[in-house]
């Protein structure tokens, strides 16, 4: 029983890592331009398919694939920001929201059009399927990789935001867009940077999603994307560390919900996640690490 719970917790950490990577993007973009980017989940899908394409093409070394997938996500983020959100800067909140939903539907259906709706097997190098044992728990190489890569990326991000001038500019812009602009910060560049980092991380999350679950289709990003948004809300939207914390909490909660209750309840996992969202929004709208001043309710 003890090792069962530990194993479930490890599963929760894996799922949580992916949620956290996606939630960071939600939080960064929301923190700066007050926009919930629904298309964010679909960048996960793009990341997964780009990974599949690169792996199938043969001889590309794995670290290069990681970099290329990050760049692919980044490219999508820049494209979306340029084409859809920049022309709408200053428009009402709801317009931005509808736009992001539109982009999301657009990406999903472009995926269906170009890649068909059939799920595809996601093939990862043999090396990642190796089973490791660590005391009572055993897991696959890919699962260890997911956790390690996510943690490294998150540490790099926190260092970037906390210690560099660029990070300082980002924090200032999140604090107050107009004042930051008066201080000579190029806010267009900072907004773009939020999309670049957030989307790149979402792309990496897509690669992990494929590696973990072994099957991908053009609609795979939407619901996990929404769940990552739930994670961002739990941590407090706008806070990067909050998004990480929320991601891991939600991942563990979801896995425990499935693992500890009788199997018939596991079909209700999505209902559980969104009921949590509604509850959190009502009881603790600022989340765990968010600002209390923000107007949400």
């Amino acid at each position: 029983m003890g090792s069962y719970i530990v194993e479930q917790l490890v599963n929760g950490l894996i799922l949580g890592s992916m949620y956290a990577l996606v939630a960071i993007g939600f939080s960064m973009i929301y923190g700066i331009i007050r926009l919930i980017n629904f298309a964010h989940g679909d960048i996960v899908m793009v990341g997964a398919f780009v990974t599949l394409g690169l792996v199938q093409s043969g001889q590309i070394p794995f670290p290069l694939i990681v970099v290329l997938v990050f760049l692919a996500g980044t490219f999508m983020g820049i494209l979306i920001e340029r084409v859809a959100f920049r022309p709408l800067r200053g428009a009402p909140q709801v317009t931005g929201f509808i736009t992001s939903l539109t982009i999301s539907i657009l990406l999903q259906n472009l995926g269906i059009l170009l890649l068909t709706g059939q799920p595809r097997n996601f093939i990862f190098p043999e090396y990642f399927q190796k089973i490791l044992r660590l005391g009572p728990v055993s897991f696959r190489m890919i699962e260890l990789t997911i956790i390690v890569v996510s943690v490294v990326l998150m540490i790099l991000l926190v260092l970037l935001v906390r210690t560099t001038r660029l990070g300082m500019a980002m924090r200032a812009t999140a604090e107050n867009l107009n004042v930051a602009r008066l201080m000579g910060i190029n806010i267009h560049r900072i907004i773009m940077l939020a999309f670049v980092i957030g989307s790149g991380l979402a792309g990496i999350a897509g690669m992990m999603w494929g590696g973990k679950f072994g099957q991908i289709d053009p609609l795979l990003g939407f619901v996990p994307g929404l769940k990552a948004f739930v994670a961002a809300v739990i941590g407090g939207v706008g806070s990067i560390t909050g998004a990480m914390l929320g991601g891991y909490l939600l991942g563990c909660a979801e896995v425990l919900f499935i693992g500890l209750l009788p199997p018939i309840y596991s079909a209700y996992r999505d209902a559980f996640v969104f009921a949590t969202l509604i509850l959190i929004l009502l009881v603790m709208p600022a989340g765990l690490l968010g600002r209390k001043t923000e107007e949400r309710a």
């Binding site: 939903l101 259906n109 269906i112 059009l113 969104f274 709208p285 309710a297």
Partner: protein
């Protein structure tokens, strides 16, 4: 408010004209075209009622298909002949299994259940605003989908209920279209409607003028949900089947597109947009199938919406109605 110069006979004449049109279509067109006309009617009901919430009151909800699903399933279970229920839904409680209602009471019951659901969901959720409300209602839609898929004793799970009795036709749809348009028109030009618009324009100012915010918001939400429930009942009995996947995020998106294209707050706009978009989708569908280019429909919708949002964000009519309907000279 400007005095209306609209003659008293104007709306009855409009309704009669619509009736003549329905009669003509009913007589001359084949079943395929008639079913498309029915979908146009149902989408008009959905878009105009969503406009009550999203357009008039500015409460951005994506949960409309959820209410439609509630209404649809309630009506379907009530009208389903007991013999088929015994076969498809053996685990149904016995008091439900023996019911065989006619359509109108079943649909109204469905609408009322959707309204109750709206109260239940609305009381907590309507405290949220903007993005957060939208995400919470989307969460509600997903919860409804999950429940319908898993409560197999009531809904037959992912298989859905098929072989519903075909209890309605174009006339039934037309009746409800007229009722929906009439009620929404009356609401828009009543003090209730003006409180809706006041909340949309400036919440704090509205509250200072004595508009009870929470109650009015719930009202807009629940009224919209009632018509969505009705539309769900009609829909199930037109296509004689009902499955959980029909009430999807895509449907919520399409309805939002109709409201935005027509102009948030305009009944005429939502009606025309619903008709045009439904027609457009049905015309493109054979193309989609013959080219095997699945998804092209949604792509065209999405690009069209993006262009409208960027270049003409007020939609066809803004919040207004055309002058000849208002009786202005």
């Amino acid at each position: 408010m400007m005095a209306s110069h609209r003659p008293r006979w104007f709306f009855p004449a409009l309704i009669t004209a619509g009736g003549v049109l329905v009669f003509a279509l009913d007589r001359t067109m084949n079943d395929y075209i008639l079913s498309i006309v029915c979908f146009i009617g149902i989408n008009i009901i959905l878009a105009v009622s969503l406009n009550l919430t999203n357009g008039f009151t500015g409460l951005f909800s994506l949960g409309h298909p959820g209410f439609m699903a509630v209404g649809g399933y309630v009506a379907a279970i009530l009208t389903f002949p007991p013999a088929r229920k015994a076969m498809l839904l053996p685990a149904l409680p016995s008091w439900l299994a023996i019911q065989e209602w006619s359509l109108i009471p079943a649909m109204v019951t469905g609408g009322i259940c959707a309204t109750l659901m709206a109260f239940l969901i609305g009381i907590p959720v309507l405290r949220l605003k903007g993005h957060y409300l939208a995400v919470a209602t989307l969460g509600f839609l997903i919860i409804v989908q999950v429940l319908i898929t898993n409560l197999e004793s009531l809904t037959r799970g992912p298989l859905g209920l098929n072989g519903l009795p075909m209890l309605t036709d174009l006339w039934g749809v037309y009746l409800w279209v007229v009722i929906t348009l009439y009620v929404c028109w009356k609401i828009k030009h009543s003090s209730l409607g003006r409180t809706f618009f006041a909340i949309r324009e400036n919440e704090m100012a509205a509250e200072c003028l004595g508009v009870p915010l929470a109650r009015t918001r719930i009202m807009a939400f629940a009224l919209g949900a009632f018509f969505a429930g009705i539309a769900g009942g009609l829909w199930g009995h037109i296509i004689t089947a009902i499955t959980p996947t029909s009430f999807s995020v895509i449907m919520a998106f399409n309805l939002v597109v109709m409201v935005v294209v027509g102009g948030s707050g305009s009944i005429t706009g939502a009606t025309l947009a619903a008709a045009m978009i439904t027609l457009g989708v049905e015309i493109l569908r054979p193309l989609e199938e013959s080219l095997e280019a699945y998804g092209i429909n949604e792509i065209i919708m999405a690009i069209g919406l993006l262009l409208i949002l960027i270049y003409h964000p007020q939609g066809l009519f803004g919040s207004r109605e055309p002058a000849f309907l208002m009786g202005k000279r």
